[in-house]
């Protein structure tokens, strides 16, 4: 190839459409959110963990789960981050996401944390590092999606 060869680029598009089946377990989890404002976990008969969101099998024991139990509505914030840079398609910063272990659950659930003063990021981070108690907040009109809920610090937290 000589130096005078023009390098060609070809524009392209990568658009694939999918239909994801959420399945009965997830559908039931969402129905509980929408209809009874409950967050459900499922117990593994082998390790006895209550897995949240409730699901049909435990991957660690490779067994089907049995009972479904409600968890929360309060819990402990395990870890967090404060997003300060903008990403296409995601909520405008600054936003806080965190993993929260709801009371009665053995796994943590991820969601946004609202109601924090984010004018001083360092101060907000220091507060969240204290693993505050949080509670689940439902939107006024739940749709049966994970976005029906979010977290906020409890008055004590």
């Amino acid at each position: 190839m000589t130096d005078t060869t023009e390098l060609i680029t070809i524009p392209g598009n990568w658009n694939f459409d999918y239909t994801y089946f959420a399945g009965e377990a997830a559908s039931r989890f969402f129905a509980a959110l929408k209809e009874s404002q409950q967050i459900m976990g499922a117990r593994c008969p082998s390790c006895q963990r209550v897995l949240v969101p409730a699901r049909s099998f435990c991957d660690a024991c490779f067994k089907r789960t049995t009972d479904w139990v409600p968890v929360g509505p309060e819990g402990t914030l395990e870890t967090f981050t404060i997003i300060t840079a903008a990403f296409p398609g995601l909520p405008k910063p600054p936003v806080v996401i965190a993993y929260v272990t709801l009371d009665g659950a053995d796994t943590a659930l991820v969601n946004m944390v609202n109601g924090l003063d984010l004018t001083d990021i360092g101060a907000a981070a220091a507060k969240l590092q204290g693993q505050p108690r949080v509670r689940v907040k439902f939107v006024d009109e739940p749709e049966g999606r994970i976005t029906d809920i979010s977290f906020e610090l409890t008055p004590a937290g």
Partner: protein, 354 residues
């Protein structure tokens, strides 16, 4: 070191909204482990065949591998044909790296668009702008191969026979599914039935009734125009290797489950593995009960499960568990799997009743 098959399970369904992909996988893998009579604690390897563009997410094995038993195990995923994953699992056991492995593959045609998937296989510079897909390549091959004496009549009989087998195979998809539009000279009866497929096996070095007697693999150039078109060279080479290792000629196997995207590819596949003389693949597919008794692609098809499904059907034949499509006296079986693009790489497995 001989490898044995301890457990097998497969499910062909379509758009079962009660289960998400992970649940579908769990059900089949769990069933294969139950079938093996082994405990999860005895399994130390998980080898998977799955494709991000089929599953609808990048690195889809993050969520699906644990559903296939990968938790705290040595797991690897191939975005390649299911029979290639089977071969890779064999190498792990033969190398002594692992003792017992799950091999699983899946694809839900009800969740993705198989034609869009196929078009995206073509390189953006030379072939994708033409809107090529793998069915077009199969059609061009068919054009070359369907003109021989007696071939059109044999073709009609092969289509009928394939449909009958799929109708009698209890594992085949009986309702739902869909087919892609055929390109001339392909017709509806040549096309695979897109379905949701999960298939899983347990392999180990502990003797069972089913032994892997031979394994062979090969490959061809990417551009279709670089390949010989009347024959599937990579499949011939792979079959040669597997059959030599097994010490069996292709014509002597009791059952051959040969993978092909279309019925034409299945017919050419029979020639490539030595079950049919050159030019006689279609006759063989029409008249020989040993050829794809499961109904092949008509019983249900999804990338990238292809070859693993064919191996599973062969295993059931060897065990006498194939039901209404069972052949008599099956002691050796050959199964093959072809990859994208249009069968560019091939894996052949020869199995024996031990």
């Amino acid at each position: 070191m001989p490898i044995y098959i301890e457990g097998v399970a497969l499910e062909i369904s379509f758009a079962d909204a009660r289960r998400n992909l992970s649940e579908l996988i769990f059900d089949t893998v769990r069933a294969s482990v139950d079938d093996s009579g082994r405990e999860m604690g005895e399994i130390d390897s998980v080898v998977l065949a799955a494709h991000d563009l089929v599953d609808g997410r990048s690195l889809s094995s993050m969520v699906s591998a644990p559903a296939a038993g990968a938790y705290l195990r040595d797991e690897i995923r191939f975005s390649d044909d299911g029979a290639a994953a089977f071969a890779a699992a064999m190498t792990r056991l033969e190398a002594g790296d692992n003792q017992r492995s799950i091999v699983a593959a899946w694809g839900r045609s009800s969740e993705h668009d198989p034609d869009a998937f196929s078009r995206a296989l073509f390189d953006p510079c030379m072939t994708r702008p033409l809107g090529l897909d793998e069915f077009m390549l199969s059609a061009m091959r068919a054009q070359l191969c369907l003109g021989g004496d007696g071939v059109p009549e044999a073709h009609e009989r092969a289509v009928t026979r394939r449909g009958d087998a799929a109708g009698r195979n209890p594992r085949a998809l009986q309702a739902g599914g869909f087919t892609s539009a055929p390109h001339f000279p392909l017709a509806a009866g040549d096309m695979p039935l897109w379905a949701d497929i999960t298939v899983s096996m347990v392999l180990s070095t502990q003797p069972t009734a089913i032994r892997v007697a031979g394994m062979g693999q090969s490959s061809e150039p990417y551009l279709f125009g670089d390949r010989p078109l009347r024959t599937i060279r990579s499949l011939s080479e792979a079959a040669d290797r597997a059959l030599t290792e097994a010490g069996v000629p292709g014509s002597a196997v009791d059952v051959a489950e040969v993978d092909g995207l279309t019925l034409i590819d299945e017919a050419l596949g029979l020639e490539a593995v030595g079950l049919a003389a050159p030019g006689e693949g279609m006759l063989r597919l029409a008249d020989d009960p040993r050829a794809n008794p499961s109904g092949g692609g008509a019983s249900g098809y999804s990338r990238p499960t292809m070859g693993l499904l064919r191996i599973a059907e062969a295993v059931l034949q060897l065990r006498g568990q194939a039901g209404p499509v069972q052949l008599d006296g099956v002691r050796t079986a050959l199964a093959s799997g072809s990859s994208t693009v249009a069968g560019q790489t091939q894996t052949v497995i020869v199995l024996e009743a031990a």
